[in-house]
Subunit: 281 residues, 2 copies
């Protein structure tokens, strides 16, 4: 099931072609995106997602259509979704640079069914592998042209990393920097629990600012947990009370093993983390 809305709020046929062959989004992966969970007709973290879309656009020097247009398109998808059969869905916002020389970015919002496999991972947890990302932890600040904190359409490496995980019998990837510190997943943010402290990697290491992780941390702070945004080595993954991959659609997915080694993955703690996140809504 897919529902496609254009930025003027009109609904289009998702099976009909929308992009010219020479759109720079097609030819160069030159564009940005966000994926947002809609549960019970309500978008989660729409504001932070649109903030990050604007951050990505600024890094790519992309003229982004106005915020109201994105909100309108999301609304159109929600209004046209078959909620009776699917109480949750993901909306993907995409903006490409358009055809070279036209300065006319192309955007859309597409509502997509959440796959059974995703829901299964949410409830059962995942096996992850660590893979080198090849970047130094201080690279982002001195090399902004590498777009390390932008959510661009150039995701071929992220997809290849997921295939590498599958080839190793795992579901997910945790990228590491050249000094061995933990970065992020190809489509998720890494969160650790150590006692009543939650940890995550700082965006200054060249990763995306996590919207779901951000929501969890705000809820955790209200509930009396400590939160730390700090660099940590891959060894910390094995020494914590729990590891999660936070993403908009998969929410807090518990990691059960890393590089074939089982790690602590307590069901009660997972339920508590889930409740914390949900307490925002």
């Amino acid at each position: 099931m897919r529902v496609l809305a254009l930025l003027d709020g009109t609904i289009a046929d998702p099976q009909a072609p929308l992009f010219r062959a020479d759109d720079l989004g097609v030819m160069r992966g030159d564009g940005i995106f966000e994926t947002i969970l809609i549960a019970d007709r309500k978008p989660r973290e729409l504001g932070p997602h649109l903030d990050r879309l604007e951050h990505s656009a600024a890094l790519l020097q992309l003229r982004l259509p106005e915020r109201a247009a994105w909100e309108r398109a999301v609304r159109a998808v929600i209004d046209n979704w078959p909620w009776d059969t699917d109480p949750q869905m993901a909306v993907k916002l995409v903006c490409t640079r358009g055809v070279e020389g036209d300065d006319n970015p192309n955007g859309f919002a597409m509502g997509m069914q959440i796959e059974a496999d995703t829901l299964r991972k949410r409830s059962e947890g995942v096996a992850a592998v660590t893979l080198e990302r090849g970047y130094a932890p201080d690279l982002m600040e001195r090399a902004p042209w590498l777009l390390l904190s932008a959510k661009t359409l150039s995701y071929a490496v992220n997809m290849a990393a997921m295939r590498e995980a599958a080839a190793r019998g795992a579901d997910e990837v945790i990228f590491t920097a050249t000094d061995g510190s933990v970065l992020e997943g190809p489509t998720s943010t890494v969160v650790l629990a150590q006692g009543h402290t939650l940890l995550t990697t700082p965006p200054s290491l060249g990763i995306l600012k996590g919207t779901t992780q951000g929501a969890l941390f705000r809820a955790a702070e209200k509930a009396g947990w400590q939160t730390r945004v700090t660099k940590f080595p891959a060894s910390a993954l094995f020494e914590s009370d729990g590891v999660w991959l936070a993403s908009s659609v998969r929410l807090m997915t518990q990691v059960r093993s890393i590089d074939g080694i089982e790690i602590k993955a307590d069901a009660d703690l997972h339920a508590e983390i889930d409740r914390l996140y949900e307490s925002n809504y």
Copy 2:
């Protein structure tokens, strides 16, 4: 001027949409491409370009349509190009992974006019800047999921690097590895001349195998030049008798300055390099 051919050899309207919004080429930059010069109706280095397309497909585990389909599409573009007004053009071959789950890659060949700015750079030379690529020179072999030798549609970083060059008042970029050795340009291969020796960077450092550089080196060897494929530091750019950026469309573009410093850019040597390359055809 654009001429669009599909892989069955039919001609399509380049201004009409061709890709669905949920094609993985659009959503994830998940696909590959090649750009080929067609001069006087003849494709240059078509074999090496199709070889590299197959290499890229293998790295992405992408089921590539058969070679004959690409040759047919290139032929259709050539047959429909207005040669009387444009004696040279570039054909871009693109193959995306298609819609998720369909296992049905989408490809096309598009003939495109060579821009006046490109022709000007070919004849006048360019100013280049060196920019960090952030990768170690030995990364490719141990981290194939980074797709370092694949020509993928995920080119947002290459485009951002070109904008960075423009912001610094330059035309082109020469990427360097973490150890300061020279990698490649965002859309070109770096070639140095030292006496009657031509040098270029080995693909094992995580760069694309250059098709134009390859053609030049074959011609140079026939003409009695030495060629070396070897790692060299950025300092060698300043100490050579000439530096060129080799690319299919721009051919051998002479570099006149690097990071604002003028380098040796002899007109006679440039003419000789150009003649060497052209002696293949």
